[in-house]
């Protein structure tokens, strides 16, 4: 019996260690009397109790803003900054619904309770960094719309048949902005705000949830809603938000897209399912008032979303490295700009071991500075060895290798 038990443990350890990415997660569906539904569908007294419209709105605002980075003829520094820090009723967007909204992207950038409530210094620094991306785009890249990019000169560069617009350092600011927001907005709000006990259990949230006391005129308790808001930053624009895996990767240009991309790599094929299942089970746990199960699911989501950001950072650094080696600067700058944004997003990851980021501010700053400091002209001069060093340093915090992250198949 002992042998058998030992052997079984041994096997399951083996299984877990080699297939942590391949686990189909079905074992999670029944856990401590909490049963997850087949889809992300929850009701109270027959009424839908799931709501995350604010997240959907912010994803769509971010999408329009990032597209507007390339509106050379119509966008200005002021118009882009107005989209970023939208004020209710201002005609900043193409969509009337977005214009009418009282939400905006900037106020939720680097704004999580856990990381930034008592760290407004860094929060302000990060918001200002995103502002500076806009300024660089309009002051440096816009005037050189019809200039061929060269070391030290902003302008156009070909990436295959695509045209990229880069700074004098070879950076694509729209990519820095978009991929940086995946961390600073989506992941930060999800992992460090809505899934944290400071928010989920704030004030009377627990007793209200225990007693089914819903918000005024709503079908949900505050705790349920907070959980749904976390969900919304990943699945808020899904074609069918109750069954979002059917279209994962196609529903936005932010976190949804890249969870889909990572899940498309056979090394990580179950990651989207694992995240979705954890969201479902955690929400069911709130309904069942089982907060242990809830927090266990939050931990899974934190780990997996952090992995997605790290995998994608390495993926782009390594693809950029290959392109640099082939002297295909256009392709390299595009990849490395995406990589830069994902590296910047590492700051917003969440390590369950210590409830802090996997990477400190200074670690992330060292990475991004290293990318630009191999020579006078930033990415034009970047050394492949630098990109390997950063990639290895990122992978060292996780159980996957640089090679696994670098190849998508």
């Amino acid at each position: 019996m002992k042998n058998l038990l030992f052997a079984a443990t041994f096997i399951s350890v083996l299984f877990a260690s080699c297939s942590s990415d391949d686990d189909n997660g079905t074992a999670m569906e029944i856990d401590n009397e909490v049963v997850a539904p087949a889809t992300y569908t929850f009701t109270r007294n027959g009424e839908n109790s799931v709501s995350f419209s604010g997240q959907t709105t912010r994803i769509m605002m971010a999408g329009e803003l990032v597209s507007a980075f390339k509106n050379f003829d119509t966008a200005t520094e002021n118009s882009l900054k107005a989209m970023f820090a939208h004020v209710e009723g201002a005609a900043d967007f193409d969509s009337d619904a977005l214009n009418a909204s009282d939400k905006n992207v900037r106020s939720k950038t680097a704004a999580s309770t856990d990381y930034f409530a008592a760290n407004t210094t860094e929060s302000t620094l990060i918001k200002n960094t995103f502002d500076s991306y806009i300024t660089t785009q309009t002051s440096e890249v816009f005037p050189n719309e019809n200039t061929v990019a060269e070391p030290g000169t902003a302008g156009q560069i070909a990436d295959g048949s695509s045209v990229r617009y880069v700074t004098s350092q070879g950076l694509e600011m729209n990519q820095l902005f978009a991929k940086g927001l995946i961390g600073a907005l989506m992941a930060d709000q999800m992992l460090n705000n809505y899934l944290g006990t400071a928010v989920l259990d704030e004030a009377d949230n627990r007793s209200n949830n225990d007693n089914d006391i819903t918000e005024t005129d709503k079908a949900y308790t505050t705790m349920e809603h907070k959980w749904d808001e976390a969900y919304g930053y990943l699945f808020g624009t899904s074609a069918d938000p109750a069954n979002p895996l059917a279209t994962i990767g196609e529903d936005d240009s932010f976190l949804n897209k890249y969870v889909g991309s990572v899940a498309g790599d056979s090394d990580f094929s179950e990651i989207a399912t694992e995240i979705f299942d954890a969201f479902k089970l955690g929400r069911a746990a709130i309904v069942a008032k089982n907060y242990e199960v809830r927090d266990a699911q939050a931990a899974i989501i934190r780990q997996k979303i952090s992995e997605v950001i790290a995998i994608r950072a390495i993926y782009y650094l390594q693809n950029g490295k290959t392109a640099i080696e082939n002297e295909d600067f256009g392709a390299a700058f595009h990849d490395l700009s995406e990589g830069y944004g994902f590296v910047y997003s590492l700051r917003f990851t969440r390590n369950n071991q210590d409830d802090n980021s996997f990477f400190t501010r200074s670690e992330v700053d060292e990475f991004t500075e290293a990318m630009l400091n191999d020579g006078e002209h930033g990415l034009w001069d970047v050394n492949p060895a630098t990109l390997d060093t950063i990639s290895e340093a990122i992978a060292a915090k996780f159980s996957f290798t640089v090679a696994q992250a670098a190849t998508a198949d």
Binding site: L4, A7, F10, I11, L14, F15, C18, S19, D22, N146, T147, V148, Q156, I157, A158, G160, S161, S162, V163, S253, K257, S261, S266, D267, N326, G330, E338, T401, A403, Q404, T407, A408
Partner: protein
């Protein structure tokens, strides 16, 4: 017994999780095919002669352009147009060799991005303010821009010629001349580079690595076959990659009777390269993918892989020959025939990209971009 099961299952688990981690190493095939001889045949019997023909055709193209802009009439327009067709067809023989200088110059994108962006061309004509080195101007230059300038400005030749006439025609003349000059400069640059230095570098780089000439040009060839021939000439206009067919995306849209000719030229060139055919014509063959596969004795489903590929070239040729001379007509009347031609080309993409590359131990060095 239990233990055996345990060990077995452990083995299965370990085995199954390590399959994804195989390093992508490339090994030199045990028996060594003379790659250098293949490179010499490619360079001296196919690539350099094809660039020479193309370059010379652009000399003539420039001469005919000057003749037309000096005296814009129907006769000179027709002569220039014929030379445009000759050069466009010669281009089909070099387009797949996007390596070295051609790659640096973005040769194919600058000479043959279609459909032409008419609004951009009209803007450039009106303002005279453009720079063909900018990647954003790919779709306003090259042969597709000439197609519009020679065939698309008006319904009749008399009216087209008239647009270039007198002081009102100066802007059009200048733009036509600039487009042709750019084609000529690009063609000359790449050809001279092959003749003066690149041929020797290319042949000397005869190793077995991702940066070796064989590996690189093989990838360029298959990329061309997949993206430019299969997709660009047939698949995209037939709507394979969109919700509806896109007849406006055929090659040589404004002339109207060129899409099939160019597709067949490209197919012939691709097959000629596969078979190592001297000057891409006739019956003299040298070292090539065909002889390389035969040397390795590559068998697929009991048949010679090189035979399968050659037979599939023929299937594709038969399918394309069935099409209307003008693909826009074909798409309008019976798009299924277009789709069939696409499928026949796609079958060869698989044979080349999967089976041939596996046999030659060459890794694919390009991926479909993730679209952002």
């Amino acid at each position: 017994m239990k233990h055996l099961f345990l060990i077995l299952s452990t083995l299965v688990i370990v085995w199954s999780c390590s399959t994804d981690d195989d390093p992508q190493t490339q090994e030199e095939p045990s028996a060594s095919f003379n790659r250098q001889a293949m490179l010499v045949n490619w360079a001296d019997k196919i690539i350099v002669p094809a660039y020479r023909d193309f370059q010379q055709s652009t000399n003539e193209l420039q001469r005919r352009t000057v003749e037309f802009t000096a005296t814009p009439n129907e006769v000179n327009l027709a002569t220039l147009r014929n030379q445009w067709i000759t050069s466009y067809r010669a281009f089909q023989k070099v387009s797949m060799f996007e390596i070295g200088r051609a790659e640096q110059l973005r040769f194919r994108d600058r000479l043959n991005t279609y459909p032409v962006n008419v609004a951009e061309v009209e803007d450039f004509i009106a303002t005279g303010d453009y720079n063909f080195e900018l990647p954003s101007t790919n779709d306003a230059q090259g042969f597709p821009a000439m197609d519009y300038l020679l065939n698309g400005l008006a319904p009749t030749d008399a009216e087209i010629a008239n647009i270039y006439f007198g002081s009102n025609g100066l802007a059009h003349k200048a733009y036509l001349e600039a487009v042709v000059e750019s084609i000529h400069v690009l063609a000359t640059d790449v050809y001279n580079n092959w003749e003066t230095s690149f041929r020797d570098d290319f042949v000397a780089n005869n190793g077995f690595s991702a940066s070796a000439s064989v590996d690189k040009l093989t990838n360029d060839f298959i990329f061309y076959f997949e993206k430019s021939l299969r997709a660009g000439k047939i698949g995209i206009p037939a709507g394979v990659f969109s919700n509806e067919p896109l007849p406006q995306n055929v090659e040589g849209l404004y002339y109207g009777y060129l899409s099939k000719i160019l597709a067949l030229d490209a197919l012939d060139a691709a097959e000629g390269f596969f078979r190592g055919r001297t000057n891409n014509t006739g019956n003299v063959y040298g070292e090539s993918f065909e002889t390389y596969l035969d040397f390795l004795n590559t068998i697929k489903n009991g048949a010679d892989l090189s035979d399968l590929i050659i037979a599939q070239f023929e299937e594709a040729r038969v399918a394309i020959e069935l099409l209307n001379t003008d693909f826009t007509e074909q798409i309008a009347t019976d798009n299924t025939a277009m789709l069939n031609a696409y499928d026949e080309l796609q079958r060869n993409v698989i044979l080349l990209k999967v089976d041939m590359l596996q046999a030659l131990s060459i890794d694919v060095d390009y991926v479909d971009t993730d679209g952002d």
